[in-house]
Symmetry: C2
Subunit: 342 residues, 2 copies
Amino acid sequence: MKEQGAIQNDLLIRAARGEKTERSPVWVMRQAGRILPEYRAVRGSISGFKELVETPDLAAEVTVQPVDILGTDAAIIFSDILVIPDAMGLPYEMKEGVGPRFPRVIKTESDIDEMNVAQGQELKYVYDAISETRKRLAGRVPVIGFAGAPFTIFCYMIEGKGSKTFSEARKWLHANPKASHKLLEKITQSTINYLKLQVEAGVSIYQVFDSWAGVLSKELYQEFCMPYLNRIAQEVNSVPRIVFAKGAYFAMDDLMSSNYNVVGLDWGANIESARSLDSSKILQGNLDPTILYGQEDYIIRKTKEMLSSFSGGGHIANLGHGVYPDTDWRKVKLFIDTIKSS
Amino acid sequence: MKEQGAIQNDLLIRAARGEKTERSPVWVMRQAGRILPEYRAVRGSISGFKELVETPDLAAEVTVQPVDILGTDAAIIFSDILVIPDAMGLPYEMKEGVGPRFPRVIKTESDIDEMNVAQGQELKYVYDAISETRKRLAGRVPVIGFAGAPFTIFCYMIEGKGSKTFSEARKWLHANPKASHKLLEKITQSTINYLKLQVEAGVSIYQVFDSWAGVLSKELYQEFCMPYLNRIAQEVNSVPRIVFAKGAYFAMDDLMSSNYNVVGLDWGANIESARSLDSSKILQGNLDPTILYGQEDYIIRKTKEMLSSFSGGGHIANLGHGVYPDTDWRKVKLFIDTIKSS
């Protein structure tokens, strides 16, 4: 890890390490981008999303915006989980208003054999963006790194786009478990290499996003997800780590006993039952992002209720999902201000 | 209810009523259609999905096919949950390979005021299809009726199509709860009228599908879903009733204490914890439909494991979700045969 001066606001890192903090730190999934006019101005000045991800100066600029404008306790590096399949040999395209699309997908076992394990250096633009972000932040708040969980990346490499059921990806688990493990191994090793270099570039904490976890069952999650998630946390353990497996209510006990410091919860999760599994684990979340479509007093009330529902233990405030793109940024700021003044 | 001779195979009805049965009855969500070549032949002979739904002779034909070919213990009437918004004044279109689309959607509160409460007679073609199905079945197995849950219908009326987040629909719940209740009331009353006429036409049991329940939280589910679900079951109570709320793990206790006889589980649900809430409630489910992409011995093993996981109480065997369209029908039959010979 690069020499790093003390971070002025290190609330997030202390909370993630299990230290008692004066209040819950707050950041927002997808805070870097989508809702800010300042983001849209940068985005409008270039040809596409991928150019923004791959241009360190611009990625750093939109990474710092929410710290300046919304007052978050951390910056999350502006990037995409799909840089990993890209680095493994399966490039993605980001279609405006549609989402990611892969021109080629995994169809056969020999497609899996042809995938590279990413060494990490392929994604130099991410580390450069992290360095540039740190320079611009000058120690104000920590930088959060991130990656997709192996199963979520696996879903995209097979389906080539989002899906409500990911039945093609799930088909592989049942019809060809051995090949599925082979691909998950390659993704995991790529992710480890990638996160190690993010830490070297200066992220103080990272989050692993298992966005499509909810389409599995407990049994499949234990076979095809947890071992890979745990291996990542074990191999990249010099900074605190957060795991967020959306909709994976069936896996709560596995996640709570994982070697991640923090477990992210979506708005449907049961906070009490998570706490009862391990009261020392830090929980992150979980305001329903659609609450931010409500009136101001409603948002304040719901945010305070959310805070109080986490009061039994360590907590990092966040939404229960990424902020939706048509949310008024002033309401996101109201959410953040409410946390900070509580 | 029309005069009805004894049903020869009434396993499903007896199980749903809580009687001890010699084995778990079995049917499959979306069994009527999608996977059978015989269905595709009928579907190919006409202009579109909606014509099939609205032509009683053809709807009855594809309803009976899975009984004849797959050997299910019940026929579920071939129709669509979207006939309700259609009858309320919001017509749907079914786009092949894409899914449902509403040319108009609910945008303002006055759009809600303009919606009719369906009286039921608008959907005469459904009752005719039920009567014709009963004639063709000649008492072999019972006919299952169905409707969408009010919240799921609400989602479609607002979003106009499927969605991964249904954030527009959820926005209404937070930003305009009063108007949301007004629309949910109208949908609920329409659904009650509709299900009463289905029962009159001769369905022996019905299922309410809350397909998008999983996007909510416990709090929202209790406010915007359970009261309407319970009112339906209370008003249409002359036959046994099944509720299936996919992904609504947070609402398990509410569903288990609802006035539905049977609670359907998806493959991610925790059977043991459902049983512990009320061991007398009948559970339905829950094989992961992607297991049917596996090898034959794998399907048999997984089906037997599923059966044994439900052995602590009343059970109706089913998949945990509708059968996926690219499933080999012979593997669905293998699933059914395995249940029947267990």
